[in-house]
């Protein structure tokens, strides 16, 4: 009987026995790893070290072998087999993955949640072994708004609200006005953005207190730089793309030169250039604000990448569109703005979303010109004498914030891509 068990291949007939023994083996192997990692109990300590280290793997492997039965009719078993137990190699991979997860996830959760501190106001309140979230709690306003005066922070919130409403309303305007969407986003949106930044956030007019750009910081600065760079780089990118595809050699080669230059240098050198070189190029006595210089630098840099994205869309359009538009007697500009660009841009919305994503991920670099957005603010916080040693908590927090933002954006752009590809 035991002979039969060991040497007969598992099949549908002896399903019940094999599966139950297999599951037993698996449970044992997982339990061993789990207890070992979390509670430091070694079930197999009786055996020599080498064997006890590999024992869970061997036991698990045998367990998976025993339950690998094709077409059992049991839905749960079949799906499990198909998904994680297809071949012996696969079962080893599954085992290793599960072991890694079981070993490290509890430790991570422990540090993040179970032994972490969140109540209190000073570093001394962090008594546990885990993360000291008190640091984040105390500094949160600084991380969000930088040195912007507390009383004026509503202005930043309002500015972003207006911006979202403006951009969001573009999806709801009636068909009649849809053809002006492109012109609006190229001409109107930058103007609105400029007004918001100059009058609302910076202030100094209409009774609003002036807040110097050196005080702007934190996550709000990340958003300010990203949004405004995107809004400004979009029209420039479109014009560059059109220029690159132009038949006039002077325009074509200037566009190519411009695009290839900005794409070939790292952003950090561009920011150095804006901080250190650019002031030399301005007339004596004219002083341009640090933040404006940085936004200009990032805008021009991203415009080159945006130009390539838009060019991809322009190239994908069939020649028929151009010919038809020309046959209707439309001039160059009307053809592009009313016929070509709306279609081309719709094709590359995912590409534009990707560029925006890259822009958001590139904003932490503005610390080189002395502007402190979220990552810079965390750097400031962690070297504060009262809060030394909080580097890990700070960067984990920033990582989570950025990850949530970027992941949602990339998911949204994937959804857009699916929606638009079925449309055609």
């Amino acid at each position: 009987m035991i002979n039969n068990l060991i040497f007969k291949k598992p099949n549908v007939n002896n399903l019940k026995q094999y599966v139950s023994i297999g599951l037993l083996f698996l449970t044992f192997s997982f339990l061993d790893v789990f207890l070992n990692s979390l509670f430091k109990i070694n079930l197999t300590s009786a055996l020599p070290g080498f064997i006890s280290f590999f024992l869970p793997l061997i036991i698990g492997f045998i367990g998976f072998y025993l339950i690998r039965i094709e077409h059992t009719g049991n839905v749960f078993l079949d799906t499990a087999n198909k998904k994680i137990n297809l071949t012996p190699f696969n079962s080893v991979l599954t085992l290793l993955s599960i072991f890694v997860l079981v070993k490290y996830i509890p430790l991570l959760l422990n540090w993040l949640i179970f032994e972490a501190n969140i109540s209190g106001t000073t570093k001394e309140d962090c008594t546990g072994n885990g993360a000291c979230w008190v640091f984040i709690k105390v500094w949160i306003k600084r991380f969000m708004y930088g040195m912007y005066p507390n009383a004026e922070q509503w202005r930043i919130n309002t500015a972003f609200l207006i911006l979202f409403v403006t951009v969001g309303s573009a999806f709801f305007i009636p068909e009649k006005y849809k053809k002006y969407l492109i012109s609006f986003s190229i001409l109107g949106l930058p103007l609105i953005a400029f007004i918001l930044i100059y009058f609302l956030i910076s202030g100094g007019f209409f009774g609003l207190e002036w807040v110097e750009t050196g005080a702007w910081g934190g996550l709000s600065l990340t958003f300010i730089v990203s949004f405004f760079a995107l809004i400004f780089c979009f029209p420039i990118g479109v014009f560059l793309a059109l220029g690159r595809r132009s038949d006039l050699p002077a325009i074509k080669y200037s566009s190519i030169g411009f695009i290839e230059f900005w794409r070939g240098v790292p952003l950090i050198t561009v920011l150095f250039m804006s901080a250190v070189m650019f002031p030399m190029f301005l007339p004596d006595g004219v002083y341009m604000d640090k933040l404006i210089r940085a936004i200009i630098a990032i805008t021009l840099f991203e415009a080159a990448y945006m130009a390539e994205v838009v060019r991809g869309g322009l190239q994908a359009l069939p020649r028929g569109q151009y010919d038809a538009a020309k046959s209707l007697g439309l001039g160059y500009w009307r053809m592009n703005f009313l016929v070509i660009l709306p279609q081309a841009l719709k094709l590359v919305i995912p590409g534009i979303a990707n560029t925006f994503l890259a822009l958001v991920k590139d904003t932490p670099l503005i610390y080189v010109v002395g502007l402190l957005e979220l990552v810079g603010m965390i750097g400031l916080g962690k070297t504060n004498p009262k809060w030394l040693g909080m580097a890990t908590e700070g960067y984990v927090f920033a990582g989570v914030v950025f990850w949530v933002i970027c992941f949602s954006m990339s998911r949204y752009s994937q959804k857009l891509e699916k929606e638009l590809s079925t449309e055609r």
Binding site: A250, R263, P266, T269, V276, P283, D284, T392, V396
Partner: protein
């Protein structure tokens, strides 16, 4: 007729004029500003003595060398970290990319989590995490992490045994000779297969060649290899150091780690797109003429997949090289930190130095792009 000419020439002239005006405006202002301040423009400073030391350098450098040599050191350090990053990110990227296509549910999900996790966090943040949080938490040399007593990991760096060669050049040439012979072996095998249909075990022969030829140099050419192990030495009561061996600074490790992990996600997506881009029909047709799975992969899938994979991957390598400029944020002496950082601060010649730095990166980018264009043209499927 005339209006057409005007339509053609006027915009061009206007564009050129605007560009010239803008450049002229900048140059004019720069000239005035520099005159006012008494700064002059020139590249002569490159011959001046640098008088600062660099922490890590692959070539000989001391403070008495010129700024130009400091520039070279920075450039080599940039290329070094880029090559290391490219090497590791490719390996990791290929593994993760293939894992993303695995039928195994767990493996596929883990690979997806890997890609989504490392792709959506800014590179600078990852770099800061590795350098300021992870590697700073390593123990002091006295309690260093010990790898079988030949390698040690501490907050001051990773110490590995140093290769001490005698007659290294002979060994090096033998490897080159072996590589060339492998090339000829493969050509010969291909010719034999095409002309006579006979199968020559090219892989086995090349494997033997690459092992035997260099090994021979050990036996008959007097090449020998010994190792210099890092040894813990006590400098003062509590300060310990490792003498001997090669010390890899934590700055280099953090940068290589961050770059590899971040770029591996993009490579993984490229590999996945490449393999998925080969039509199912190809695999089925290859199977129907009797090729084994391994042969299908090698002869049918990979060549087509590579055509899809290589251009965006080269783009990513280029991005990695440009991203290595983030070394300025931690103290790794790459081109930006050494030249556009220290040298610029000591000499004050901002315009010259930043121009040279940007030009260097531009040259690297443009040459790789040109190479890529040539490769693309060579393997492009000519459509009718």
């Amino acid at each position: 007729m005339n209006s057409k000419k005007i339509k053609n020439y006027l915009p061009q002239i206007l564009t050129l004029l605007t560009i010239i005006l803008i450049f002229g405006f900048f140059t004019f202002n720069a000239q005035i500003n520099m005159d006012n301040r008494g700064i002059d423009f020139g590249f002569g400073f490159l011959k001046q003595e640098a008088s600062f030391d660099i922490q890590f350098s692959l070539i000989e450098y001391s403070g008495t060398d010129t700024y130009f040599r400091a520039y070279l050191v920075g450039l080599i350090n940039t290329l070094l970290v880029s090559v290391i990053g490219i090497f590791f990110c490719t390996i990791i990227g290929v593994i993760v990319g293939i894992a993303r296509l695995s039928p195994n549910y767990l493996v596929e999900k883990l690979a997806t989590i890997w890609v989504e996790f490392f792709r959506n966090i800014p590179l600078l943040l990852q770099l800061f995490f590795w350098y300021y949080a992870a590697l700073r938490a390593l123990p002091l040399p006295k309690d260093a992490v010990n790898f079988f007593d030949i390698s040690y990991l501490s907050v001051k760096g990773w110490y590995i045994p140093k290769f001490v060669w005698t007659n290294f050049s002979i060994f090096f040439y033998s490897v080159i000779v072996a590589a060339i012979s492998i090339f000829f072996i493969y050509r010969f095998a291909k010719k034999q297969r095409e002309e006579t249909g006979k199968y020559v075990p090219a892989f086995l022969l090349s494997f033997l060649t690459i092992i035997i030829v260099p090994a021979l140099t050990f036996l008959i050419a007097g090449v020998s290899l010994s190792f210099e192990y890092p040894v813990l030495s006590q400098m003062t009561k509590t300060i310990f150091n490792f003498k001997g061996g090669v010390g890899i600074p934590p700055e280099l490790m953090a940068l290589a780690l961050a770059l590899s992990l971040y770029t591996s996600t993009f490579i993984a997506e490229n590999v996945r797109a490449g393999i998925m881009g080969v039509g199912k029909g190809q695999k089925e047709a290859a199977a129907s003429i009797g090729l084994t799975t391994g042969q299908i992969l090698k002869l049918v899938v990979m060549p087509q997949a590579l055509r899809i994979i290589i251009p965006p991957t080269t783009n990513q390598y280029l991005n990695l090289t440009k991203n290595s400029s983030l070394a300025a944020a931690i103290a790794y002496p790459d081109l930006v930190l050494v030249f556009a950082g220290t040298a610029m601060m000591q000499t004050g010649r901002a315009i010259e130095i930043i121009s040279i730095t940007m030009l260097t990166y531009l040259t690297i980018s443009l040459s790789i792009s040109a190479l890529m264009n040539w490769y693309n043209k060579k393997v492009a499927i000519k459509e009718k």
